[in-house]
Amino acid sequence: MRVTDANLATLRTQWVAQSRANMAEKERQVASGKQFERASENPIDATRVLRADRRIARIDQFGRNAANAKLWVNTADQALQSANNNLERARTLAIQSGNPALNGEARAAIAADIHSMSESLRTAANTTVTGRAIFAGTADAAQAFDETGTYLGDDGIVRRTLDTHETVQVSLQGPEVFGASNPADPLNGTVFEMLETIADAVEADDQVTVRQGLDAINTASDRLGGALGRIGAISQQIDAADVRHGGEVLQVQANVSRIQDVDIAEAIIGMRSAELSHQATLQATSRALSQSLLDFLR
């Protein structure tokens, strides 16, 4: 093949351009830390990266969902603890009221105390999270139980998504925690009805009803304890999901990194060698360009 000057010039331009492009690509890798930035550079891995990105975005959201669930659960837990304390106090008062040495005035004082326990229990039952009564189900009610102890909520269940196929129930309905209203047999009704009835019985020195009331307090206390247990289990489920997500994020990120990130040491060495080869190309080109018969003619 004849070597013509135009061909040589074209080839040299191509060589220099090629080695410069190679160097630029290596520099880009070092600067961005990514092996590819456009999907077309690696279509298969690019879709993997996209799926992983989506998973990470979702896990991030699941974390937010879990935080909200935790807020509900913790609030419910506090409300139930305080309800439990109030109930225990009411039990103690009811037992004290059985003391035959008490006079009417003392009994009236105990009855007033039991009343106020009932009121405190109702406050606990009306606990809210961001303005929403947590024991009112999915109803748009400001209170779960009104002043007369009537349940204003519904039987809807509030859930939070912890993962694509995992939800957690974060609400307990008022009636299953505080009892369902039963005007005919108030001792087996809501905890508020029951305490009102006991208070009235204490004031009237009706020891039979007070003793029945103590049994009813036991039942209500068991109910509250059960609710606390469920809340504890829910809380554990949320924590478990959080821990799992933390692990998964690390794993997914490691995977993405394996696919997309450059090994920085390797990239820097690659860049240095590309620079060297570019310098060599330039030097060789400049040397070769000056080689001509003209240099040897006098």
Binding site: M1, R2, V3, T4, D5, A6, N7, A9, T10, L11, Q14, F36, E37, R38, A39, S40, E41, N42, P43, I44, A46, T47, V49, L50, R51, D53, R54, R55, A57, R58, D60, Q61, F62, R64, N65, N68, T130, G131, R132, G137, T138, A139, D140, D154, G156, V158, R159, R160, T161, T164, T167, S292, L293, L294, L297
Partner: protein, 466 residues
């Protein structure tokens, strides 16, 4: 044979070698001229019975004469280079369009449609955590608006790209016509020059260069005729013949398939209204982009939009807003402009109508919002479909780029082969120059020698014995 015959022979040498030096100079100064083919003087010994240079009469003398100046051009290599370059131009135009499409659709960059969709699903989950919070509802609507505008921007950009390519079709056909005009004009000139028995090499080079340029724009076939003229055809139809050009025009017709996207069909026809098959060159790239590449991508995005609308609405219709309203649409496609995604009138600017609850459940139920959020990871959900579409397009770009790179490399190689036959090598010319110079000097010395010889005869003859 006359004594002067030697002088005569020497003069033909001076003449021929000076001519060689002229041509070598021409080669040297044109070393970088695009399309220049090196020339070579073909010398031959003068036929002893030929006509004398000075006397005009038949002499029985020898000498050298330049027979012709040939253009060192390998027609097969040149033609091959044109074909390869034409193919490379088409592929590289297509790749350019596909790469632009990839940029428009996006994927891996921050804030891509993929990210926007994820944010929408996450907003639904946030809404599920607080169905009574109007701010959360507003947040969902804002994300939805971003997604809608994102998709609409993509289709609008694709339409813009398509109209750019339409313009490119017109421009390229204009360029083809302009080149055909110039080739035709040169053809007439070449014919004229040949008739005067001169060497039209520079005109031939110019024409070659124009034909090569034409081959880059469209698939041409060139037939070089005996009389020095050319016939240039596209798909068997003459566009240059007998020093005249036939212009091509772009025809815009409506097409049922493309029409559904609001596009027209473009074709290239000649003066007798015959449609030409264009399969290489920039024109082929632009036509393929308008006819296939861009409409296909636009359809793909339209289907993503339709699918997103259907899937979200199917769920949302079964939900209830904070105001108890049910059966509301969430997304809608503009009936007048396919490819325009909107937040449906049912919910736009009415955050209370966004369904977080399933119809019939409590007002503050959150199951619908959670179902909508779960579209995020559904294997057939809108995000998955989008990722699939990104992957498909990326694979197309990748394939096209590989083909284009291959075609470009092949074109460059073919071009170099053609150049290696026709290009100028300075070293070679310098050697030639030295040879010609030496030959010229020798011829000049010949004149001197004969002159001295004659002088001997004139001044010294008849002095024998003096």
């Amino acid at each position: 044979m006359s004594h002067f015959a030697g002088l005569q022979t020497a003069v033909t040498g001076l003449h021929a070698h000076r001519r060689r030096i002229d041509i070598i100079s021409e080669n040297i100064v044109n070393v970088d001229t695009p399309g220049y083919h090196r020339q070579k003087v073909n010398l031959s010994a003068i036929d002893r019975s030929s006509v004398g240079v000075w006397t005009g009469s038949r002499h029985n003398t020898g000498g050298v004469e330049y027979e012709s100046i040939s253009r060192m051009r390998d027609a097969i290599l040149v033609n091959n280079a044109r074909v390869q370059t034409s193919e490379a131009e088409a592929r590289s135009a297509e790749t350019g369009v596909l790469e632009q499409l990839e940029t428009i659709v996006g994927g891996l960059e921050e804030g891509s449609l993929h990210d926007q969709l994820n944010e929408l699903w996450n907003a639904f989950d946030d809404l599920a955590s607080a169905p009574d919070d109007l701010a959360m509802r507003q947040g969902v609507l804002q994300r939805a608006e971003t997604v809608a505008q994102g998709f609409t921007r993509v289709t609008a950009s694709i339409d813009q790209l398509r109209s750019d390519q339409e313009a490119a079709v017109y421009d390229t056909v204009g360029k083809v016509n302009a080149l055909a005009d110039q080739i035709a004009a040169l053809d007439s000139e070449i014919l004229g020059t040949l008739n005067t028995d001169a060497h039209p090499n520079s005109l031939l080079d110019q024409r070659d260069q124009l034909v090569t340029e034409l081959a880059g724009t469209v698939n041409v076939q060139v037939n070089e005729l005996e009389n020095g003229q050319t016939e240039v055809t596209v798909d068997g139809q003459l566009i240059v013949s007998n020093g005249r050009s036939n212009h091509l025009t772009v025809q815009r017709t409506s097409d049922p398939v493309l029409g559904s996207l609001g596009y027209d069909r473009f074709s290239v026809v000649n003066a007798s209204n015959r449609e030409l098959r264009i399969n290489s060159g920039q024109l082929a790239g632009a036509l393929n982009a308008t006819q296939n590449i861009i409409p296909q991508q636009r359809e793909r995005i339209d289907s993503l939009i339709a699918d997103l609308t259907t899937q979200v609405n199917a769920l949302h219709n079964g939900g209830a807003g904070l105001d108890g309203s049910t059966g509301n649409d969430f997304f809608a496609v503009d009936p007048l402009h396919s490819g325009t995604l909107l937040v449906a009138n049912d919910v736009v600017n009415q955050p209370e109508k966004v369904a977080a609850a399933t119809a019939g459940a409590g007002v503050l139920d959150d199951s619908m919002a959670r179902s909508l959020a779960n579209l995020a990871e559904s294997p057939t959900g809108p995000t998955s479909n989008f990722v699939t579409a990104v992957g498909e397009l990326a694979a197309k770009v990748n394939t096209s780029r590989t083909r284009s790179d291959g075609a470009t490399a092949a074109g460059e190689r073919a071009q170099q082969l053609a150049n290696s036959a026709g290009g100028v090598s300075l070293d070679e010319e310098l050697v030639d120059l030295m040879t010609a110079q030496r030959s010229f000097e020798a011829s000049a010395r010949l004149v001197t020698a004969i002159d001295e010889m004659l002088q001997t005869l004139i001044t010294s003859t008849g002095r024998v014995g003096r």
